[in-house]
């Protein structure tokens, strides 16, 4: 039946089935997560008690916290920068319009492997390899980011207009010049947007890495939490929130500038 009614009926049926399936999946996942409205209802007073312990904040640790936040920021920045430097050529190798299909698929598969290792595990491996401190943190961030950045770059490269690549190459340009003047200019806005987004995420990731000794503010988070020194945790939280807000604004400006 190719009438409007027939097509519409089929579409509605499929839509309803998909919606029902999704709802069922959500319900199942809530059950497996032991979701309980009762537990949530009981939690109110406990939240209140926790937050009351944060006040008044213990400003004596401010200097320490700021310094380690700066270190966290630097770990995130260095890690992201290293990831970008390595992800650009890897992204080219994973782009099916730049290299042969078999190579692009193999590289994409390798990137998927990199992405699948949890960041904490990567950090632990680097800590055992190069010792404690900010270095393993920065390397872990870089390694973990490459998996996402390179894949995204490749996907962006693949959307480039092939006609423009042909036109630039037709002037007698070398392969490198065609990439530089034909491919990259088309992809810069999305590449930059995703890179700064990744950098924001990396700052938050780096904040946690201190938990395994890879530098940054994570060390102090776990120190104060385990020591029940919640007034100091309050200062930590405030500084982190401030930095994340600033980063958010900064990345917004960068994305607009590169449009």
């Amino acid at each position: 039946m190719t009438t409007l009614r027939g097509i519409w009926g089929r579409r509605t049926l499929i839509g309803t089935a998909l919606g029902g399936g999704l709802a069922g999946l959500i319900a199942y996942s809530l059950v497996r997560s032991e979701f309980s409205l009762a537990a949530l209802a009981r939690s109110g007073p406990r939240f209140a008690e926790f937050f009351s312990r944060l006040i008044p904040p213990n400003w004596s640790v401010t200097g320490l916290v700021v310094e380690s936040t700066v270190e966290t920021l630097m770990i995130a920045f260095a890690g992201t920068a290293l990831a970008v430097i390595l992800s650009l050529p890897l992204g080219l190798l994973a782009a099916s319009n730049v290299v042969p299909g078999w190579l692009a698929h193999s590289v994409k598969w390798g990137l998927g492997l990199i992405r699948s290792v949890p960041l904490i595990v990567v950090a632990l491996v680097f800590v055992t390899a190069v010792g404690l401190g900010p270095l393993p943190g920065m390397l872990a961030i870089a390694f973990h980011s490459i998996g996402m950045l390179a894949k995204f770059y490749a996907e962006e490269f693949e959307t480039a207009d092939a006609g423009i690549l042909d036109a630039v190459g037709g002037t007698g340009a070398t392969w490198l010049q065609t990439i530089r003047f034909g491919l990259f200019p088309q992809c810069v806005p999305q590449v930059v947007a995703f890179t700064v987004y990744r950098f924001e995420m990396n700052f938050r990731d780096a904040a946690i890495l201190g938990l395994v000794g890879a530098g940054g503010i994570g060390y102090y988070i776990q120190l104060y939490v385990r020591g029940f020194q919640y007034e100091k945790v309050a200062v930590l939280l405030l500084v982190i929130v401030l930095v994340v807000t600033l980063l958010d604004q900064l990345t917004f400006w960068v994305r607009r500038w590169v449009r």
Binding site: D166, G170, G172, G182
Partner: protein, 284 residues
């Protein structure tokens, strides 16, 4: 400039034929079951302004792509500037690619980049990868680009992004990039399809003037016979991949134009006269 010396050859009544810039021999281009181009013999000479007319699908774009070296013929031989465009022997492939410039129908400028960036891309065939990577173009190239932009009247829009330009302005930017290449053969695939009639005439006039000044060969694919008659020094009519007219614009009459754009079952045939490759429309 070379001084022309009077000699017995120059005083002959028949002029020495210019060098053949493009030669096709026994060329067939087949896509699946469709024969897109079927040319027994075709020679384009230096400094000719060849306008190729024909319906959509008649083989005009296929011919351009053959000359540019983006396509290999299924059978036959293609020689451009003495080389096989898909496998140039003498200089590096990049040197050969630079000598033939193609202006696509969609222009294919980089939208996010400025007019200056796009036009300068035309000199990439002459500038090393390392220098161009950082934008360190030689001063000579920058001055060439300035001169060309003045020639196409875009000098006021140097800093504007291509995506903010009008159709006519983009057309001139595409021409400027092709001129920057300093190619010996300029191909243009339906360069004025997106322009209104007045702009189309201006654009073609500009292109033809620039080409005349440089003495290079021009091959333009077009839909408008009137424009071809006005600007061409030679018209080639393609129908279903075959040449059905090849001669001066004066000979391309209304009837010839009608035949070209009529259906495939319209009677008529190609009659060779004089040199091979020279054909005249007969019996429509």
């Amino acid at each position: 400039m070379r001084k022309s010396r009077p000699s017995r050859e120059n005083m002959d009544s028949s002029p020495e034929p210019a060098a053949a810039v493009v030669e096709l021999a026994g060329v067939h281009v087949v896509f699946g079951r469709l024969c897109a181009l079927d040319i027994e013999c075709l020679e384009l000479r230096a400094a000719e302004r060849v306008f190729v007319l024909g319906r959509s699908g008649s083989g005009k774009t296929t011919l351009s792509r053959l000359i540019k070296g983006r396509l290999r013929p299924s059978t036959g031989r293609v020689r451009v500037l003495g080389e096989d465009p898909m496998a140039p022997q003498s200089a590096s492939p990049r040197g050969f690619r630079r000598r033939v410039s193609m202006i696509d129908q969609e222009f294919h400028l980089v939208p996010r980049l400025t007019v200056a960036d796009n036009v300068l891309a035309g000199c990439l065939g002459r500038v090393s990868s390392a220098r161009s990577f950082f934008g360190w173009y030689p001063m000579a190239e920058l001055m060439k680009a300035e001169a060309i932009l003045r020639e196409v009247e875009l000098e006021g829009l140097v800093d504007r992004r291509v995506e903010s330009l009008s159709g006519g302005q983009r057309q001139r930017a595409a021409i400027a990039r092709a001129l920057m290449q300093e190619a010996e053969v300029i191909l243009a695939d339906e360069p004025v399809s997106a322009l209104d009639p007045e702009l189309a005439e201006d654009a073609l006039q500009l292109l033809v003037d620039c080409v005349r000044r440089r003495g290079v060969t021009l091959v333009v694919n077009l839909h408008q016979p009137a424009l071809a008659r006005r600007f061409a020094s030679r018209i080639i009519g393609l129908s279903q991949g075959k040449i059905v007219y090849d001669g001066p614009p004066e000979g391309f009459t209304r009837e010839a134009a009608d035949f070209l754009y009529a259906g495939p079952d319209r009677p008529g045939r190609v009659v060779p006269i004089g040199q091979p490759g020279q054909a005249k429309l007969e019996g429509a």
